[in-house]
């Protein structure tokens, strides 16, 4: 028991099925009589649909049905929704143009769905889709935010004039202007936050199934939040009663945000299955995933930092243009606003901050939350401009940060951008990271690199993130259409084993182990006798799912609340068994005892008695189970310092990561092995953003040029180093486990750390992500030319 509880690196319970090939991912599931869907997609970025001829397709072998947007419209299917309404500077709601599950009159990005074929096999459906003839009137597209905001730009939606979704601001403009007026020094920076494709290794997949006898609909789907999908499908898109719909998200092969959203294809499977009264399955191929999975990031930002003569931050102002793509995805509007501007204080005491964000429609794939969602973009702004400021002031970047950190005795700390930071020890993390990175030895390592003709750079990123999303009343006041609490249910069996039901969802995070550790530790049940159930709306109480590093801080807290209820009832049963009064019963780790005596009964006996209540309190219900819902009091604020050290080959522009140090403060840690794994994976995605990855559209045609793994550069084993991971633990004061969340930290910290190292090596801020060998080489060459000219 002692080596399986809280704080132990327990090996994962879920691994056996995955290492033996016995997982159950959605595409592994097949239903009797199942049909297959294949989508015909737009080859144009922007076009008017003049006509669609499906007559040949309908006669192809195996074809059961061919549907277009007209069929969807005839059934009065609702459009896909955005669940978070952002209000602009004038208090007007954002523009959320209609998003049909199959396009009706216009296609607005390459890959937009134009028709669907349902056939007896996947290849028959695909063959038939290729025979559909569509007459398009091709329109000139716009793919980037700067072009889209220009007058005369193509208009993506008639009801979003100027392609503007919203023009929003946050913070105290007057106070920030005043701070800049008295500044001794102002640092300015232009930043591009490159568009990324999330690329979980499992492509999206869905099966819709309808049982006419029961009038129930079942959806198997690759989702991070099955209840949210059920709510959206029922209440907004298909108009079905929630109690007649079951959504199952079985084993899910990674999400990183992209599987939060309600997409067109899954919705079409459900709609078609009900129409045809047969199961309908669709599985994305990888190019479809690049074309239709919501992308991440894509910001263009100008930022300015005002400082006094000692480098004390006085004010920060930020102007950002955020690309929304062709339609507003499920939570897209919140990402560059409330998940972005509220984090612009970083770890610092900057007293005045003002941010303006223009969200813009373009003829590209919709953009929504991707690992970190807004917080990587905020961290990139803060940590790049702080680094640039240190260089301008000729000050040690670590010292400039130290001078401006929120001190450890200032918590809870109210920032000027609404957040109240819960706890932290920012200087301690920085000192530890600098020591682990051997900052003292950097000068000699740089000299050694120079002897080999190579450049060497050292980059720090001190990040903060807001996790444990989120207090329902707060997000409701900011426009969220949902509450962001979480549910848990603990159910004892008569023989002492336990089911734990959670409304959060694991798609790689290891909930089946971490949550079992908590319950094992608190209820004294052996780990192998705890089964964690998630991902099925028919089994699990309504829950909000997994994203924003919320599962442990919110879902784990709900489990603790349920544990408390179990113990409370257990005490009554134990008191009866021990012939004591309830007030005299103590409880510790699975054992009830009478205070001051040697009388005790174990949890297993209490559970058995609850189900076989022959000798039982007269006024007590049988059974031992408890449900709990937990709505967090605040966000949690994990923070830390990542340090990248790079060596650059001046001849090729190739960047090698020589060292990576991460010191993170996630509060208390339940399973260090799993937490470190989350950090590793996050860093890899952040390194991918900074060095390798980038979604590229052709500006003229709007074609997606990076629509396969041949063209989009995913990080591979030989692109990455091993990481040195350290932790400090400052417990979160407002949740029962003292935990903060760890899923996104690496992806938030890594891009700025790496770009600070690369710009340090190159001696210029003028390079954008991804810093490919070509771009780095061009910077080196242009500097050589400039030096020669002097």
């Amino acid at each position: 028991m002692t080596n399986q509880g809280i704080g132990q690196s327990v090996r994962r319970k879920e691994d056996f099925r995955f290492i033996t090939g016995q997982g159950h991912y959605t595409d592994d599931i097949n239903r009797p009589g199942q049909l297959y869907a294949s989508f015909l997609r737009s080859p144009h970025a922007f076009a008017k649909i003049k006509s669609i001829d499906t007559s040949t397709a309908k006669k192809m072998p195996g074809v059961v049905a061919v549907y277009t947007g007209q069929d969807v419209a005839a059934d009065k299917v609702g459009g896909l929704i955005c669940g978070w309404t952002v209000k602009d500077k004038k208090g007007e709601p954002h523009k959320a143009p209609r998003h049909d599950i199959i396009a009706i009159d216009h296609v607005r990005h390459v890959g937009d769905q134009v028709a669907v074929v349902i056939a007896r096999s996947a290849s028959q459906a695909r063959d038939a889709a290729e025979t559909i003839e569509v007459d398009y009137e091709v329109l000139k597209p716009v793919v980037d935010v700067v072009s889209a905001l220009k007058s005369g730009a193509p208009q993506v939606h008639a009801d979003a004039p100027g392609n503007l979704c919203y023009d929003w601001d946050f913070g105290d403009k007057a106070a920030t202007e005043a701070a800049f007026a008295k500044a001794a020094h102002v640092t300015k920076i232009e930043l591009l936050n490159n568009r990324l494709s999330p690329n979980p290794m499992e492509p999206r997949s869905a099966i819709g199934e309808y049982d006419p006898g029961l009038d129930t609909t079942t959806v198997y789907t690759t989702s991070q939040n099955p209840h949210v999908i059920r709510l959206i499908l029922c209440a907004f898109v298909l108009g079905l009663p929630e109690h007649k719909v079951r959504v199952i998200a079985p084993d899910v092969g990674g999400g990183f945000g992209s599987k939060i959203f309600n997409y067109a294809e899954e919705t079409v499977c459900v709609w078609a299955a009900r129409k045809l009264k047969k199961p309908v399955k669709w599985t994305s191929d990888r190019t479809e995933a690049f074309l239709t999975d919501a992308h991440g990031r894509d910001h263009v930002t100008h930022a300015e930092l005002a400082m006094d003569k000692d480098g004390k931050f006085l004010g920060l102002r930020v102007a950002t243009m955020a690309n929304m793509g062709a339609y507003l995805s499920t939570f897209a509007s919140a990402v560059p606003t409330y998940l972005y501007a509220l984090l612009l204080a970083g770890q610092y005491t900057t007293p005045a901050i003002y941010a303006e964000v223009k969200a813009v429609f373009t003829n590209t794939t919709p953009v929504d939350a991707y690992r970190g969602a807004g917080r990587p973009e905020a961290t990139y702004v803060v940590e790049r401009i702080v680094e640039a400021a240190a260089r301008e002031l000729k000050m040690d970047p670590a010292e400039l940060r130290r001078r401006n950190f929120v001190p450890p005795d200032a918590f809870p700390y109210q920032t000027p951008v609404a957040c109240v930071y819960d706890s932290g020890q920012y200087a301690k993390a920085l000192d530890k990271a600098l020591e682990m990175a051997d900052k003292a030895g950097f000068a000699s390592r740089k000299a050694a690199s120079a002897k080999k003709g190579k450049l060497r750079g050292f980059g720090i990123c001190a990040y903060i993130e807001a996790c444990g999303i989120a207090p329902s009343a707060v997000v409701g006041s900011l426009g969220a259409g949902v509450g962001l609490w979480e549910s848990a249910q603990i159910r004892f069996n008569a023989t002492g084993s336990v089911f734990v039901y959670t409304g959060s969802h694991s798609h790689g995070q290891g909930h089946e182990t971490t949550f079992a550790q908590i319950v094992s530790d608190k209820l004294g049940v052996a780990l192998e006798n705890v089964e964690v159930i998630h991902g099925d709306t028919a089994l699990v109480p309504m829950g909000m799912g997994t994203y924003g590093s919320r599962s442990l801080a919110v879902g784990g807290s709900a489990i603790i609340r349920a544990v408390d209820k179990i113990v409370e009832k257990g005490k009554k049963i134990a008191a009866h068994l021990m012939e004591a009064s309830v007030e005299d019963v103590a409880y510790d780790k699975g054992v009830f005892s009478v205070k001051g005596t040697d009388k005790q009964v174990p949890m297993a006996q209490v559970a058995f008695t609850a189900y076989v209540p022959h000798n039982y309190p007269a006024d007590l219900e049988p059974g031992l189970e408890a449900s709990a819902f937990y709505d967090p009091a605040n966000f949690t604020f994990p923070a830390g310092v990542h340090i990248a050290e790079v060596e650059i080959d001046s001849d090729t522009g190739d960047t090698t990561i020589a060292n990576w140090v991460a010191v993170d403060d996630f509060g208390n840690v339940i399973n260090p092995m799993i937490v470190e794994g989350q950090v590793h994976g996050g860093i890899a995605q952040g390194v991918g953003q900074a060095l390798l990855e980038g979604v590229v559209y052709d500006p003229q045609s709007g074609q997606l040029l990076t629509a396969s793994f041949n063209d989009y550069c995913m990080p591979r084993a030989d692109n990455l180093p091993s990481y040195k991971v350290g932790m400090i633990e400052t417990p979160c004061p407002h949740n029962p486990l003292g935990v903060k969340g760890c899923g996104e930290a690496g992806a938030i910290a890594a891009p700025a750390a790496l770009m600070n190292a690369i710009t340090d090596a190159l001696g210029t801020e003028e390079i954008t992500m991804p810093a490919t060998p070509l771009k780095v080489w061009q910077v080196i060459q242009s500097r050589k030319l400039a030096d020669a000219a002097e």
Partner: protein, 156 residues
């Protein structure tokens, strides 16, 4: 039109009539219901579909089932012997080398082949050899550790 193929999968001879264009991975997943072999891309880049054909790792999305006529195919389901996990499977679990588990079968099959060809690989060799297997979750750190540990266990 269909054609008949016969091959030995995880030690069992199987004969099936299939469409000539059927990929090996489709035969494994859809006809034989061996769904441990995964499909993560359509350009032979991700390696989620790696199986062993006559002892060598092959991306099963890249060959037609008909090309495997007469071959001995081992999938992730056939790696454990007599109820005992292969040392590489054990090493992946012990070193937390998987998160979502989707790339894991292909990763393990590639790693076993790598070690069979190279019983004592360096970290650099492991990283280079795994270039054909994408993982989006782990950042590869623990996969590399697991392969090194699995290699040691396979050496005995």
């Amino acid at each position: 039109m269909t054609i008949s193929v016969t091959l030995i999968v995880n030690g069992q001879p199987v004969t099936r009539d299939i469409e000539p264009r059927t990929l090996l991975v489709q035969l494994l997943r859809e006809t034989l219901e061996l769904t441990g072999t995964h499909v993560g891309c359509d350009t032979s880049q991700c390696g989620a579909c790696v199986v062993h054909i006559d002892g060598k790792s092959v991306k099963s999305c890249t060959i037609l089932a008909a090309q495997a006529q007469g071959a001995k195919v081992v999938t992730i389901e056939g790696l454990a012997q007599d109820g005992k996990l292969h040392p590489m499977q054990e090493a992946f679990r012990e070193n937390h080398a998987l998160q979502c588990g989707f790339c894991t079968p292909g990763m393990i099959m590639s790693a076993v082949d790598l070690v069979q060809r190279n019983p004592n690989p360096s970290e650099d060799t492991v990283r280079h050899e795994l270039e054909g297997n994408l993982c989006r979750c782990t950042g590869y750190h623990n996969i590399v550790k697991a392969v090194m540990a699995g290699a040691q266990a396979m050496r005995g």
